[in-house]
Symmetry: C2
Subunit: 210 residues, 2 copies
């Protein structure tokens, strides 16, 4: 199994965490998003969006991190990254989607590049844009973690919500977003990141890191 | 069961289609996003992001359309909106996530309002922004539908990918995006929309439509 990835891809980091929590061995092929390597025709033939992450396994290519997380959960059920009950699964998936739909897509490299190139945004405007979407999402997530968390985002075991949260907190810190209003969220992220297998998935530990 | 919705919410429209395909009866409470009604404290207490859609059922509130679609699929398994095999489920979920993560969040009302208010974007720039993200996503989706579709986005039955596609095509048409490069995608959307139960979920047929 091959994971197509880039060390600073937040969506790739989600998949690395899930594979680490399950102990799933895999090779890693990297694409430097800063040079546009992910738009190489050979890669686009595999992954039509030309984005990372993607998984090559069993003769097929899977894209989109949320879909990949569900596939990992189905393929290697233990330890479970979704709760046993339908309501719990819905809450965990909503936390993951809050990050994957309403925060991350607004702040990724190609969107920030478009703000600068097509809308003439200066760095303070880009910073405010980033902080706005992270702040809106994290405020809601802090409430959801207060309701449903018990050490992790949902309950007392890591779930796909934590797989999405850790990379988003990493990204927020990179962008110097003030996280003081989200103490539960930060604590959950730190607790997940402290798991030994997870710590090895940190961007700075990847072979393609600067 | 209550669906919190707004007639022009693309994410709400996804949920309406899934409920219609399953024949699930529900009440509908509407929130006018143009007046910010979704930020009413009573609603935010239920749905901390203050966004639609949300489902109230069994004493809980579920948010985020992708999570709600999965919950609907688990709660009313027939007719199935996910394929029976793991690889098929992964492909369908990747198509849904492509729309829900990489197209729709960039073009929703609060993001377009922010482009105008905070970045001073003029209408031609906003139109180009919208067309860019729809174009990038639809080009990849057209390829995926060519590979995996057979009448619908995946195979010969509607799935959650179609639940996401129909509202995105509706939105693209509203924004006057040229869809001539995506004939398969448009045909799939029209075929889904022609299903009698689905046709009733069209935005213009909702009680809160202008």
């Amino acid at each position: 199994m091959i994971l197509h990835d880039y060390w600073r891809s937040g969506a790739g980091y989600r998949v690395r965490i899930a594979l680490a929590l399950k102990g799933v061995a895999h090779d890693r092929v990297t694409h430097d998003l800063r040079t546009g390597a992910q738009r190489d025709p050979a890669y686009v033939a595999l992954a039509p969006q030309g984005l990372v992450p993607a998984i090559e396994a069993d003769g097929m290519t899977l894209t989109q991190s949320l879909a990949i997380l569900e596939w990992i959960e189905e393929s290697w059920p233990k330890p479970a990254l979704l709760p046993a009950d339908a309501a719990g699964r819905a809450i965990v998936r909503s936390m993951a989607a809050l990050i994957a739909c309403d925060i991350h897509p607004l702040n990724n490299l190609r969107v920030l590049n478009t703000l600068r190139a097509d809308l003439g945004a200066e760095q303070p405007q880009v910073d405010a844009w980033i902080a706005r979407w992270i702040g809106d999402g994290f405020a809601a997530l802090e409430t959801l973690i207060a309701r449903h968390g018990a050490g992790f985002a949902y309950g007392d075991k890591p779930t796909i919500a934590d797989c999405c949260l850790v990379p988003q907190v990493y990204s927020a810190k990179r962008f110097a977003v003030d996280l003081s209003a989200y103490p539960r969220l930060v604590a959950v992220s730190e607790r997940t990141q402290a798991i030994e297998a997870v710590s090895a998935t940190h961007p700075s530990s990847q072979s393609d890191a600067d």
